[in-house]
C-alpha cells in the first residue's frame, strides 16, 4: 500500500484492503459531515453536536492510524470535556436560541468562495505532488511508550503545553473575576 505508487486497480470490496478503505472513507465522511454541521448549523447547540461528530470521526481516524491512546485521549478531552464545556457555556449564557445575526464580514460572498477555492486548490496540488515516504514504525503506541517519549525526548514541548494551559486557566479566572465585581 504505497500511496506514491500509481494505483493500477481498485481492490475488491470484500478483501482486507477493500474493507479497510471502506472504513477509512466512512470515517472521513463522518468527520467532514460533522465539520459541515458545526459550520452551517443555525442553532448553536446543533453546531456543538456537529463538532462532537467531527471529533469522533477524528478519533476514529487516530484509531485507524494504529494509535488507540491518542484516539481515546481525543474522545476523553475533546468529546468529553471540550464539547461539554461549550454546550454548558451556551446553556448558561444564551437561553434564547439566536439565529445568525449581525453584519456579514467582508469575506462572505464571492471573495470567500474565491479564497476557499484557492486554498482547496493549493491543498489538492500539494497532496498530489508530495511523495509520501513510508516511515518505519517507531513503537507500538502504547501508553507506556508515549509516556516515556513525552518525559524524555519531548519533555520541553510537554512542559510548554502545560504552561499554555496554565495561562488559559489564569486568563479565564481573571475574566470571570472582572465580571463578578460588576
Amino acid at each position: 500500500m504505497n500511496p506514491s505508487m500509481a494505483i493500477t486497480e481498485a481492490p475488491g470490496l470484500f478483501t482486507a484492503d477493500g474493507l479497510t478503505g471502506l472504513i477509512f472513507l466512512i470515517m472521513m465522511a463522518v468527520t467532514l459531515i460533522g465539520g459541515l454541521i458545526a459550520c452551517c448549523a443555525e442553532r448553536l447547540v446543533r453546531a456543538v453536536a456537529g463538532l462532537m461528530v467531527c471529533f469522533i470521526g477524528v478519533a476514529a481516524l487516530y484509531y485507524f492510524l494504529n494509535s488507540p491512546f491518542v484516539a481515546m485521549m481525543q474522545m476523553l478531552i475533546y468529546v468529553g470535556a471540550v464539547c461539554i464545556t461549550i454546550a454548558f457555556a451556551i446553556m448558561l449564557a444564551a437561553p434564547e436560541e439566536s439565529k445568525k445575526n449581525g453584519p456579514a464580514g467582508p469575506l462572505s460572498g464571492p471573495l470567500g468562495f474565491i479564497t476557499a477555492g484557492i486554498v482547496t486548490f493549493g491543498l489538492i496540488v500539494m497532496a498530489l505532488r508530495t511523495q509520501f515516504p513510508i516511515l518505519p514504525k517507531v513503537n507500538q503506541g502504547t501508553a507506556k511508550e508515549i509516556g516515556i517519549q513525552l518525559l524524555t525526548q519531548y519533555s520541553m514541548v510537554f512542559e510548554l503545553i502545560s504552561i499554555v494551559l496554565l495561562i488559559a486557566i489564569i486568563g479565564a479566572l481573571v475574566l470571570a473575576r472582572a465580571g463578578r465585581s460588576k
Binding site: A16, R43, V45, R46, A49, M52, P68, F69, M72, M73, M75, L76, V79, G80, A81, C83, I84, A87, F88, M91, L92, T142, A143
Partner: protein, 328 residues
C-alpha cells in the same frame, strides 16, 4: 479472516445482549428491591416472581407512539437517547469478565471506558436542551455539573490504582490481584495504606456518575417533574433507563476489576466468570439498597462534597501513593 469477523460479530452480539438483558432485569430487581425496602410486594403478577415484567414493559414501550413536543429541537431530541445507550454498550467491549471472556482487550482499557463514559453527559445535555422544557434544561445542567465534578475524583482514584499496578490494561490489573482476597486492591498494602479509602471514594463517585440516589439531582421529581427525561415517552424513555442500568453494570464491573480482584476467587477456588458476576451483582444490590435507603441530597451539598472533600482526599491519596511507591 472469516474467523476474526465471526469473533467480532459474536462479541458485538454478546455485548449488546448482556447490556440489554442486564438493563431489563435490573429494572425488575430495582423495583422488587424498592418494594421490599418499602414493605410492599412490587411487580409480582406477570410470571413467577414477576419475572415476565421486563419483556412486557419492553413491548409496551416499543408500541407506544413517539411524542415530540412542539418547540423541541427534533434532531437533538431523537439523538439524545441513542447517545445515552451507545457509549455504555461500547464500554462492554473492553471489560474482561474472565481470563478468556473479553471482546477486545486493550492496553488502555481503563482509559477507553472513561473516554466513553464521558460522552454520557452530552446525552443528558442534548436531552434537556432538545426538550425545550425549563425543568429539563435545569435538570440537565445539574446532572452535567455533577457528572463533571465527580469525574475528577474518580479519575484520580483510578490513577492511584494504575500507579500501583503499572498498567491501564484491565486484565493486567486483575491478574496483579490474583491469589486470595488479601491481594485485592481494596486492602491496604505497603505502597498504599489508604486503599480502603480509595475504594470508598471510587464507589461514591460511581454512584454519582450514574446519577443514582442519593445523588440523583438530575431526576429530582419533587422539584423538576422527572428531570431531563420529562418530555420523553415510549422507547426514548426506555433507552435512557437502559443506558442508566448499563452504566451501573459498568461502574460495578470497574469497581470489581480495580478493587475486588475481578474474576479472582477469594480463596483460590474455581476461578472463573461466576466470581466476577457474583461480585458485580453484589455491588449492584448495594447500589439499589443505597438508593432506597438514603434521602436525596441538595445540589450544593452534592457539589461541595465533591470539590471540598472528595477531590482533596483523592489528591492526597494520589500524592501519598506516589511518594510511597518512590520510597519503597
Amino acid at each position: 479472516m472469516s474467523l476474526t469477523v465471526l469473533n467480532v460479530i459474536v462479541a458485538v452480539v454478546i455485548a449488546i445482549g448482556f447490556a440489554a438483558l442486564n438493563a431489563a432485569y435490573l429494572v425488575w430487581a430495582e423495583r422488587r428491591g424498592a418494594a421490599r425496602i418499602q414493605r410492599r410486594p412490587g411487580p409480582n403478577i406477570n410470571g413467577p416472581f414477576g419475572l415476565l415484567q421486563p419483556p412486557l414493559d419492553g413491548i409496551k414501550l416499543m408500541t407506544k407512539q413517539i411524542m415530540i413536543p412542539g418547540g423541541a429541537d427534533k434532531i437533538l431530541f431523537m439523538v439524545a437517547p441513542v447517545l445515552a445507550m451507545a457509549p455504555a454498550i461500547l464500554s462492554f467491549v473492553t471489560i474482561p469478565f474472565s481470563e478468556t471472556i473479553v471482546a477486545h482487550n486493550m492496553d488502555i482499557g481503563l482509559l477507553m471506558i472513561f473516554a466513553f463514559a464521558s460522552m454520557g453527559a452530552l446525552a443528558v445535555l442534548f436531552a434537556g436542551w432538545g426538550s425545550r422544557n425549563k425543568y429539563s434544561v435545569m435538570a440537565s445542567v445539574r446532572a452535567v455539573s455533577q457528572n463533571v465534578s465527580y469525574e475528577i475524583p474518580m479519575l484520580i482514584t483510578a490513577i492511584t490504582v494504575v500507579m500501583i499496578t503499572g498498567s491501564m490494561d484491565l486484565k493486567v490489573i486483575t491478574n496483579a490481584q490474583a491469589g486470595g482476597f488479601w491481594h485485592w486492591n481494596i486492602f491496604p498494602s505497603l505502597h498504599s495504606p489508604l486503599m480502603p479509602l480509595s475504594f470508598i471514594l471510587f464507589f461514591i463517585c460511581s454512584l454519582a456518575e450514574t446519577n443514582r440516589a442519593p445523588f440523583d439531582l438530575g431526576e429530582a421529581e419533587s422539584e423538576l417533574v422527572a428531570g431531563f427525561h420529562t418530555e420523553y415517552g415510549s422507547m426514548g424513555f426506555g433507552l435512557f433507563f437502559m443506558g442508566e442500568y448499563a452504566n451501573i453494570v459498568i461502574g460495578a464491573s470497574l469497581t470489581t476489576i480495580l478493587f475486588l480482584g475481578g474474576w479472582d476467587c477469594p480463596f483460590g477456588l474455581f476461578p472463573g466468570v461466576w466470581w466476577f458476576l457474583l461480585k458485580i451483582y453484589l455491588l449492584i444490590a448495594t447500589f439499589i439498597w443505597i438508593r432506597w435507603t438514603f434521602p436525596r441530597t441538595t445540589i450544593y451539598g452534592l457539589l461541595n462534597l465533591s470539590w471540598k472533600i472528595l477531590i482533596p482526599l483523592s489528591l492526597f491519596n494520589l500524592l501519598l501513593t506516589a511518594g510511597l511507591l518512590k520510597v519503597f
